[in-house]
Amino acid sequence: MAENVRPRVKAPRQASAGEAVTIKTLISHPMESGQRKDSDGNTIPRSIIHRFTCEFNGEIVVDVAMEPAISTNPYFEFEAVVPEAGDFKFTWYDDDGSVYEDTQSVALA
């Protein structure tokens, strides 16, 4: 497991029904591409987050397949519809099998 992985999510706490809200997510992760070499010339093995999903009450908002060309500390910004009060669930899947999760509740305004 990569060290100090910390997901951060910015989503509104309140929205009116059917409103489109902007969501920003950031997770600290080195995203080792598998292309770099260490000082002895050995290739540093790939270690990235390869998938990110955002769901609202179990319905998919976005599902992103990620390759090593995504920068360190992967950042995503996208828009979601909030049809009702509920929870956004954010999930990151690491190459090593770890799964990082974060949730954010949204109330109806």
């Binding site: 292309q35 609202f56 908002v61 060309a69 995504i70 996208f78």
Partner: protein, 138 residues
């Protein structure tokens, strides 16, 4: 051979193809596009790719895609050691088929976005990004 207008046009097209081939991306990138589209033709309308013209640092290049009506968008960096960057699938609760993220670019190259629309058609957008410092180590 007389230089008719038609001849000139044909020669021009031939020269364009001949010059264009070595510049077009690696075979791997073309394969990835073919796999995504199934070899279908791609239109040029319907997907917008926003990227800086000049990126000082190839380690983190902000890009944005916008493809109204798309169900999936694939992003490729044609000049990277592995061309794949990401594939966005938009679910029923996506308010717009747009997203932004940050990517790595090994050097000056074309970034390509291919969108698969809900009706099964494909659209492609491409943007050249000049990179001052590459972002793939080495």
């Amino acid at each position: 051979m007389t230089m008719t207008r038609r001849n000139v046009m044909v020669m021009g097209a031939g020269a364009f193809v001949a010059l264009g081939l070595p510049m077009s991306a690696s075979a791997a990138a073309e394969d990835a596009i073919t796999e995504f589209t199934g070899g279908a033709d791609m239109g040029s309308e319907g997907v917008t790719l926003t990227a800086p013209e000049i990126a000082e640092n190839g380690n983190t290049v902000p890009i944005e895609i916008d493809a109204p009506g798309a169900e999936a968008v694939m992003i490729l960096a044609m000049g990277n050691p592995t061309p794949g960057v990401a594939e966005f699938k938009f679910g029923p609760l996506a308010a717009s088929q747009s997203a932004s993220t940050r990517i790595r670019l090994a050097g000056t190259q074309d970034v390509v976005a291919v969108a698969r629309m809900k009706d099964g058609s494909f659209a492609k957008a491409s943007k050249n990004v000049k990179v001052t410092i590459g972002g793939c180590g080495g």
